[in-house]
Symmetry: C2
Subunit: 189 residues, 2 copies
Amino acid sequence: MKSSREPTGPARNAAQTRERILAAARVRFSRHSYENVGTRDVAADAGVDAALVSRYFGSKEKLFAAVIEGGFRVEEHLSEHLSGLGKHLVDQVLGDAREAAGFDALRVLLRAAGNPAIAPLVAGQFQREFVRPLARLLRGRDAEARAALIAAYVIGLATMRHGLDAPAWTGASGRKAAALAAAAIQACV
Amino acid sequence: MKSSREPTGPARNAAQTRERILAAARVRFSRHSYENVGTRDVAADAGVDAALVSRYFGSKEKLFAAVIEGGFRVEEHLSEHLSGLGKHLVDQVLGDAREAAGFDALRVLLRAAGNPAIAPLVAGQFQREFVRPLARLLRGRDAEARAALIAAYVIGLATMRHGLDAPAWTGASGRKAAALAAAAIQACV
DNA sequence: GCCATAAGTCATCAATCGATGACTTCAAGT
DNA sequence: ACTTGAAGTCATCGATTGATGACTTATGGC
């Protein structure tokens, strides 16, 4: 039963266990706020003992830092061609949870904006891995301001869609709103 | 010392005490996430005993509901003239905490998007008091989608400014970004 | 001036949280 | 095969939380 996961693996594999905890934490933190995620929950999802969370990551805050580390990496998502940036970003953000692989961290971000100990962490990461690279890609006048504007848009869309489940973003009118959002972002490019 | 607050008031005034708790909770909830606000903190800020919070509001969740009740009320903010809507909203959202009287609830909203028990509460309130009235004001084609777009923008701006303290929104480049944001919102009107 | 009732205070409970240390079990090196 | 150290388990601590009930104090009608 339990060994029906990884093909090989001597049942006791520290690296694999660590990775399982990290994966479970990534999911938990992207669906609930920082305070509402317990180390016991993460351990249960990962199928390991609760004590291993503290053992491998030191503390819950360290675990959180490991989750958001390198989680945004927008560059690879949009470095291809700027012409479809608006639609691409909107699709990624408004898309379902399963897809949008690289945007788990975005959901993590908007769940963590309330904790004074966590917010600076995630804010810095977001600035470093999203806003700044985006500004560098945009070039031209006021690139920084336009990048910040796009970032605000992305966060707002993600909050309404995943944080508040606003009805306006699902169904027929949601497609229209998504198209408008894509155009608005594209206007900043 | 203690009586240097309200001019008159027989020291034991239930309504006044209740209002003090509510005011303190409003401030707390707008600065910290739902879980990070303790009933003891609120009571301490209000200068009352901690037990009175549960006595007057029943529970922490009821207190939260009382805080966000009628907190958005955008209509009076923008019913005047739609021509200056973009600038007006941006000024309100990006403005300092002291001003922006009616927008405390917006900060409360973006702090509470992570709690599955609270998010529907605040989402419904936001939809009822902001998005829907705004859509009714906009009229024309796709009014609902455009209202949702403006709402997403407002939430994104508020999150970056008050939730993440993004540096791009302060200083000189912040003014440029604010102007761009105002124009973008105005384009949805 | 008294007294019934509302308002406020205090102590405390039960649950949950993150974290720690001692103990047990497995896997690998020789 | 035996030993050694890592990997995993278990029990539990201390702090904090929301909430409750019994108790004390002040207020206003008579």
